[in-house]
């Protein structure tokens, strides 16, 4: 019972960064830009967040700072892919390399220094930790609690509003969107920036809200998991919430099992999220055409006019 409660309590904090990053990627890929740079963007967000808190900043400002820093890197990615029409895959991998490399160098003075994170609901509202409900809810933070609302808002925007439709149209059929008078490049650039903000937020959440420390490589492939999550979610924010909880649960299992001293190979449990990711991708590929993948994802649109 203790094991179960402890596990349930930490699932949201594992799911939150995955969900934040995949929501960003959903926006970006709905506009047709394949963003494989999530891992790098998250690393920049995580490091920036840690530096801001360690320099005496407010943890909330740290989350914002992480988002802005990652958005700056995403802008570089956007300039390459959207404006200069560079290959999406290669540019994305370059962003990963830049993000990981940069954080490794710039973050060196801040490694392994712990700092206070954002307040939990227990701190804010003085929730009694005696009950089962209290034990699970008290450790949650405002970001996690607000996320379902964000998911709903994003889903509603994509499905029900004209601007959301325009974004999706750009990723599905840019020629049709072009004829409808939509500025393709502007839309894609905005979408790339949004993915930068959300991936940065995800990274900053990891360091500021979850681990309260910056360590090089702490993103630990969560950016790649988020990319798989988008495919699992069929580019739908509501399904991304479900997927994030599933992936988060698998991810959270490792420390819980270690905590109760279960005796089995730690490497096996550590690879669980990746095996789950791989399984999900295989299953998704079997679905074929109904995968929900944007029709023009990762391709470069050149207008065929003859002006």
């Amino acid at each position: 019972m203790d094991f179960l409660i402890g596990w349930l309590a930490i699932i949201p904090s594992y799911a939150t960064p995955l969900l934040l990053a995949s929501l960003g990627l959903i926006i970006c890929e709905r506009a047709g830009v394949l963003n494989l740079g999530a891992e790098g963007l998250m690393a920049v967000g995580a490091m920036t967040g840690a530096i801001i808190v360690l320099s005496g900043g407010n943890p909330w400002a740290a989350l914002g700072g992480g988002a802005v820093a990652a958005a700056a890197l995403a802008l570089l990615f956007g300039l390459a892919t959207v404006v200069k029409r560079a290959d999406h895959t290669l540019s994305g991998l370059a962003i990963v390399a830049i993000g990981l490399g940069m954080t490794g160098v710039l973050g060196r003075p801040y490694v392994q220094k712990t700092f206070p994170g954002i307040e939990t609901l227990g701190d804010l509202f003085g929730i009694d930790r005696g009950t089962v409900f209290g034990r699970i809810v008290a450790v949650q933070d405002p970001v996690t609690i607000a996320l379902p609302l964000v998911v709903f808002a994003l889903w509603w925007w994509l499905q029900k509003t004209r601007s959301g439709l325009r974004l999706t149209a750009v990723g599905e059929n840019p020629a049709a969107a072009d004829v409808a008078g939509i500025d393709i490049q502007l839309t894609q650039l905005a979408a790339v920036l949004a993915s930068g903000v959300l991936c940065g937020l995800a990274g900053a959440y990891l360091s500021v809200a979850t681990s309260h420390v910056w360590v090089e490589g702490m993103v630990a492939a969560r950016g790649w998991v988020a990319i798989a999550l988008v495919i699992f979610a069929r580019w739908n924010p509501a399904r991304a919430l479900l997927g994030a909880l599933l992936f988060g649960a698998a991810d959270a299992l490792v420390p819980r099992l270690q905590a109760i001293g279960a005796d089995f190979p730690v490497y096996l449990t550590m690879t669980a999220p990746y095996i789950l990711t791989l399984g999900v991708l295989v299953l998704s590929s079997l679905r074929g055409k109904t995968s929900g993948e944007p029709g023009f994802l990762g391709r470069v649109y050149l207008r065929q006019d003859k002006h």
Binding site: K160, R162, L165, N173, A176, A180, G181
Partner: protein, 517 residues
């Protein structure tokens, strides 16, 4: 005769004294220096259905794309409803009340009908949600009598249904001038009839409709006036349909320059290629083939004329072995090649000049020498299993560059860097070799300048005089008529007729092209 501009009359001119709905004068347009429209003109009245006819490449679509703001004209004047307007984008044209439905629909497949239409509405439109759009679509569809279900996903709709969505969208955006670019080409007989009756109804309600078409039947049955274009010029402007007969339309479409010198075969050679009962079911996008039969003799050019998209691509694919026919046989020099691979067909003596020289002809990234050697290396002509004989390839390429007069080229130059004419010469140098028995040439001079065109045609002539047989498939009538000993016309996947060159008349070709007989 040529200039019959501003004809009055026709059964559709319901509003005498009002300015024309659309007026285009002296429109010039060139693509990459090649003129597509030369002083073209067109005038459309309110309340009429006006047909624009002409061969492929006559400039019909280009002229209407200028009117609809897709292309910017190089010169000329345009008025919409009497006001000088030259829309610079489709949106501007729509705002001015003119909408065009293109041959290729611009719809997002994964969206519903209402979502698609919502997408194209301007920012200031009162319709903001899919539900509001659905209501507006239903209302407009009922008003004009065109069945459209706003809730369905476009990917699940038939071609005819998608076309109706496009039409309702254009009308909903406020178009009162409707341009339909070959709308019936993708429709069944029944669907076409329905669309054309709808178009008539629309005109009666006071709209103005332009119908781009190849089919005289549609002109005679549903249009008020007709404008004929040839080589980017308006050769007949807005004549009342009642005053003109099919023969005259065919003659004006095709031109007077058809008179061809007779070119009888001195002595018909052996049958090099024999195709019988070649049948292929139509796939989702293409045209099927209906039991094609023809024989090709040594020393003969059989020209296949026809408007593009009537099965030419499919015929070439079946002959080359890139796709497999459902029924029928292909025999080359007595050997049955019906199920042979492209490589075996090539070994048997089949050579191809594809319509897109960089799609199935040359490899862009490879050098001229490598492209030339491409069909030879498998036979071991340039080295054995492990080593290529680069020196031999270079020598062969140098010789080819000389004999085919490939300009500004060295053997090491990448094929992608060649001009269209020189790339075609590389292709000819490779295909017209000693082993050739049958040459399938698909639009061999497409996109080439006059000099390169002559070169290509001479090369084909020489090849045929050397004992090969050539199947020349081309949308360019002049090309077919200048090279062929016999001419066949393809229409809707069938051979509509075949005559010796001496018996070919403009009326005959025109009627077959237009889908008659």
């Amino acid at each position: 005769m040529i200039d019959t501009l501003h004809q009055s009359g026709g059964r559709g001119t319901l509003f005498p004294g009002t300015p024309p709905a659309l007026d285009l004068r002296g429109i010039d347009k060139a693509f990459d220096g090649k003129p597509a429209l030369v002083d073209a003109s067109f005038s459309l009245e309110w309340g009429e259905v006006h047909a624009i006819v002409g061969e492929n490449g006559a400039g019909k679509s280009t002229l209407m794309n200028v009117a609809a703001g897709v292309y910017a004209a190089d010169g000329g004047e345009q008025t919409i409803d009497g006001k000088a307007r030259s829309p610079r984008s489709p949106m501007e044209a729509t705002a001015a009340g003119l909408g065009m439905v293109h041959q290729h629909f611009r719809l997002v497949q994964s969206f519903t009908v209402s979502e698609n239409i919502l997408l194209s509405l301007g920012r200031d439109s009162r319709i903001r949600t899919p539900a509001q759009a659905a209501a507006a679509i239903a209302a407009k569809a009922a008003e004009v009598g065109l069945p459209v279900d706003p809730a369905r996903v476009v990917a699940d709709l038939s071609t005819a249904e998608r076309q109706r969505v496009e039409i309702v969208r254009v009308l909903l955006l406020g178009a009162r001038i409707l341009i339909l670019d070959e709308p019936t080409a993708v429709l069944s007989e029944e669907e076409a009839k329905m669309l054309l009756s709808f178009v008539r109804r629309l005109a009666r309600q006071g709209h103005a409709v332009v119908l781009i078409t190849h089919k005289f039947r549609e002109v005679a049955g549903f249009c008020d006036r007709i404008t004929i274009m040839r080589h980017g010029k308006t050769v007949m402007a807005g004549a009342p349909v009642a005053d003109i007969d099919e023969g005259e339309v065919a003659r004006l479409m095709v031109g007077e320059a058809l008179a061809v010198s007779e070119r009888p075969l001195s002595s018909p050679g052996a049958v090099n290629l024999s195709v019988s009962g070649l049948t292929q079911k139509p796939d989702r996008f293409g045209q099927g083939l209906n039991a094609l039969n023809f024989e090709l003799h040594a020393g003969e050019v059989l020209g296949i004329a026809g408007v593009g998209g009537n099965g030419q691509e499919e015929l070439v694919a079946c002959l080359t072995g890139l796709s497999r026919q459902d029924q029928g046989s292909i025999r080359l020099g007595g050997r049955d090649l019906s199920r042979a691979s492209p490589y075996d067909r090539r070994k048997a003596g089949l050579r191809i000049i594809p319509s897109d020289r960089f799609e199935t002809g040359l490899v862009r990234e490879l050098s001229i020498a490598e492209n030339l050697a491409l069909t030879q290396v498998a036979k071991g002509n340039f080295g054995g299993t492990f080593f290529l004989n680069r020196k031999g390839m270079r020598h062969a390429a140098t010789a080819a560059i000389q004999s085919f007069d490939i300009r500004g080229a060295s053997p090491e130059r990448a094929a992608a860097l060649l001009s269209g004419g020189n790339a075609q010469k590389v292709l000819l140098a490779r295909e017209l070799d000693a082993g050739m028995k049958v040459l399938v040439a698909h639009s061999p001079s497409r996109g080439l300048d006059m000099k390169a065109t002559l070169f290509v045609r001479n090369a084909i002539k020489q090849a045929v005089e050397g004992g090969a047989a050539c199947l020349l498939i081309s949308e360019d009538l002049n090309e077919v008529l200048s090279l062929s000993h016999r001419v066949a016309v393809m229409n809707r996947g069938s051979i509509a007729g075949c005559r010796a060159i001496g018996d070919v008349t403009p009326e005959w070709i025109g009627a077959l092209l237009a889908g008659h007989v």
